[in-house]
């Protein structure tokens, strides 16, 4: 697995898309800090950009890369090595390349302009989203035979998580506002990894109060040490479950 990881990482480190991603994040982050006088406001704007852009790029890049390297994966599958070693090496390399690009593009500006706890949580949350959506991208690519369909499913999932889910949640909360919905607000937020990541960052910027009653509930639960651990566990599950399914699918897949 380490051999596949090593050479796949070498290939990805020179990949134009990965380099472009690092540059894009750098330009966006730098631009926001340059435009906003207040680093906190810039950070808040960056949160929205990260929550939308990072999942999209991780998803689509992973899906496209896995389709584009299918013939080479077949060649690797003919070598005397287990399929789990092939997929493990490829996924590790994909994650490492995207995380490195993000560390440069997002991490560096944050370190320079806003070396705060909130910035650290944003970096960690962004990294978690890279892992979650790379894992989902891998599963999509392995389940869907055709590239166009795979990319379509990836975009639909991104759209679901970024827009549709929150719209449905807000509609539900508004419609049921006269009912005791508090016990459901936290679990429902936890189902969406993007919302979970956003909440963890917002709590650090102390914006929970501005988010109304639900914000108070989030602060009450996720603001505690236990809540932070739960959030980390949920995000870990969001990585682990798709990866486990991906391994299962790949082991049995006809190549």
């Amino acid at each position: 697995m380490l051999k596949v990881f090593k050479y796949t990482l070498i290939d990805l480190a020179r990949n134009r898309f990965v380099l472009g991603y690092a540059l894009l994040m750098l330009l966006v982050a730098q631009g926001l800090f340059a435009l906003e006088g207040d680093p906190t406001k810039a950070l808040l704007s960056l949160v929205q950009v990260v929550m939308a852009l990072v999942p999209l790029i991780a998803l689509v890049f992973t899906v496209v890369y896995m389709y584009d390297t299918l013939e080479f994966t077949q060649l690797l599958a003919v070598q005397p090595m287990r399929r789990s070693a092939i997929l493990g090496g490829q996924l590790l390399a994909l994650a490492a390349a995207l995380l490195l690009a993000q560390a440069i593009g997002l991490g560096l500006p944050l370190l320079v302009h806003s070396p705060t706890v909130a910035a650290l949580v944003l970096s960690l949350s962004g990294s978690a989203l890279v892992l979650v959506f790379a894992a989902l991208g891998a599963l999509i690519a392995l389940k869907q035979r055709e590239k166009a369909r795979g990319v379509g499913v990836a975009l639909a999932i991104w759209f679901l998580f970024v827009l549709v889910y929150d719209a449905l949640l807000m509609w539900g909360m508004f419609t049921l506002s006269d009912h005791p919905i508090e016990p459901f607000v936290v679990p429902l937020a936890g189902i969406n990894p993007i919302d979970l990541a956003r909440i963890m960052v917002m709590l650090q910027v102390d914006l929970a109060a501005m988010m109304g009653y639900s914000g108070a509930i989030y602060k009450n639960f996720f603001g505690s040490v236990g809540g932070t651990i739960v959030a980390a566990l949920i995000l870990s599950l969001w990585v682990a479950v798709p990866v486990l399914f991906a391994f299962r699918v790949f082991r049995r897949k006809d190549l």
């Binding site: 051999k3 596949v4 050479y7 796949t8 070498i10 290939d11 020179r14 990949n15 390297t69 299918l70 013939e71 080479f72 077949q74 060649l75 690797l76 599958a77 003919v78 070598q79 005397p80 090595m81 287990r82 049995r252 006809d254 190549l255």
Partner: protein, 245 residues
């Protein structure tokens, strides 16, 4: 005839409702070249993919050197594979790719046969990125990868496609050398004229069925032909070997 190196025991493969391969029983021996032919979607690719572990048979099993192949990939150490379509990590160089595959196969320096690199004119291009190579050059790289570990089972899917005549000849000579060293070579090719001088036996597949697996001489003599490219169409049209079809 030498002992069977590869044996298919009632191997069938179904994709959904479609049977790509139906109850194939055959054996390929040490020290022979077998040419796999047949129309498109006849099952040739599925036959070789099931040997390579790329697809799992729906029924039956395959033995290699007496061992039933399954999830243990160790048997593939003896196999060299040259696919029809060569695609490699774009930003790696030829040298890095050769190093990667030798690393994965845990080849020692004395186990690597690199003379084909020189013969195919790749020595001067080892620092070139794979994304910059022409299709023909990628096929040459593919041939080197298949042959440099000195396999005793060599599987080649359309090996001369995209290659210039000189390189084609060199690759086929290497395939013959594998056979002469006691290896088993399976070749699929639509260019019968190029490989017919190499083949010891011919396997004809149609609609997922192995119609026949016969020595070249028997095919030629039964049709009164001197070339396989003439003999096979005659045989299929006239049912000259109706006892096996």
């Amino acid at each position: 005839m030498a002992e069977a190196r590869i044996t298919y025991h009632g191997v069938g493969k179904r994709y959904g409702k479609l049977w790509a391969l139906r109850k194939v029983d055959c054996a390929f021996h040490a020290g022979e070249v077998v040419m796999l032919i047949g129309p498109n979607a006849s099952g040739k690719t599925t036959l070789i993919k099931s040997l390579l572990g790329l697809v799992s048979p729906t029924e039956g099993h395959i033995t290699v050197n007496g061992q039933v192949i399954g999830s243990d990939p160790a048997y593939r150490k003896a196999i060299g594979y040259m696919p029809q379509i060569s695609q490699f990590p774009a930003t790696l160089t030829i040298g890095q790719l050769l190093e990667m595959m030798a690393d994965i196969r845990e080849l020692r320096a004395d186990e690597v046969e690199d003379s084909l690199v020189e013969e195919l004119g790749l020595s001067a291009q080892l620092d070139k990125r794979l994304s910059t190579l022409s299709g023909g050059t990628k096929q040459k790289v593919s041939a080197v990868l298949a042959l440099r570990s000195r396999p005793n089972i060599l599987v080649m899917d359309e090996p001369t496609a995209g290659l210039d005549p000189v390189s084609s000849q060199r690759v086929l000579q290497r395939a013959a050398a594998v056979r002469d060293a006691g290896g088993t070579v399976l070749i699929t090719s639509h260019l019968m004229e190029e490989v017919e001088s190499l083949a010891d036996r011919v396997a004809y597949l149609e609609d997922g069925n192995l119609k026949f697996l016969l020595p070249v001489q028997e095919i030629l003599s039964s049709t009164g032909s001197t070339r396989l490219s003439e003999a096979l169409p005659r045989m299929l049209e006239s049912n000259a070997l109706s006892h096996v079809l």
